[in-house]
């Protein structure tokens, strides 16, 4: 089970993402409605995963990712954005996000975005274990 921080300035999107997270068997670590709040919540709650909107007032999602990466290299971040905003997604991925989710969002899309990241993560762990086995030999 993952502890997930939901960051979006839209109340309805936060509400829906939280519902999907619960339905998928994960836990809601917290929620934030702009980048600054996301940074504070990330420090305080140390989530496993963050869903991060890109276009937000005060501080956007890309800047928040950059600042989070200065103190937390471990947390996985999924950007939430619209079709057509691909260049911003690329900027966010360069800043340290692991994946993205295109609006309109539904439970299936969120599940797939999480699976994409944690499949990679599982593969990394498997590779590390294999390396260890070879080293032991």
């Amino acid at each position: 089970m993952l502890h997930i921080l939901v960051v979006d300035d839209s109340l309805i999107i936060r509400k829906n993402i939280k519902k999907y997270i619960t339905n998928l068997g994960h836990a809601i670590a917290g929620e934030a409605k702009n980048g600054s709040m996301a940074i504070e919540q990330c420090k305080e709650l140390n989530p496993d995963l963050i869903t991060m909107d890109i276009t937000m007032p005060d501080m956007d999602g890309i800047e928040a990712v950059k600042q989070i990466r200065e103190f937390n290299k471990e947390v996985n971040i999924i950007m939430v954005t619209s079709h057509g905003q691909e260049e911003m997604v690329v900027s966010a991925l360069k800043a340290g996000a692991q994946g993205y989710l295109l609006k309109p969002i539904n439970e299936e899309k969120l599940a797939q975005a999480i699976a994409n990241i944690y499949e990679d993560y599982t593969q990394e762990l498997d590779d590390e274990l294999l390396d260890d086995e070879f080293l032991d030999d």
Binding site: L11, I12, P104
Partner: protein, 175 residues
Amino acid sequence: MHQDNTPSLEHEILSPLIQRSISFLKEDLAIQVISENIDIILPNKIKLKKNTAMLGTGGNVQVLISMGYDDALLAQVVEAFLEGEAIEEDEREEIQESVSCEVVNTIVGNALKNPLDGTTLSITPPILISEAKSLFKQKSSQIAAATITTEFGEMLVTVVGPKELFSQTFNFKEL
């Protein structure tokens, strides 16, 4: 592209917004659109719907885009977003505002590219215009608008921008 090949507010900006709005209403929200032949008007003044959300595009193409809804249509859009989940009556107004803003954010984000080079247009966070009144055209500006009629009422899509989006030499006009 416009018939005389001059990029225009109505063809390069409003038309893709209308198309995406229709597909969003039909496919994502399961709301029936009565007619997909939508007339575009270029009025000097336009009365906005009471429930209207607005955002701006940034960078080389700077326009203001608003989307407004009749009460019954907005109520149906909210229901579609809630996916059957019940809400407290005291949070209904805030949810409605949030949905109004989210629709314009999603449609504009999905629909618009820079008409000249296909790059992404940046968009501002949306704002809600409470009890919206009217927009008036100024000397150097233009208004383009279209009404999409659905089974639950009308959605008004309005774009305000400079009279000429670009100069004849295809460089961006200074705004």
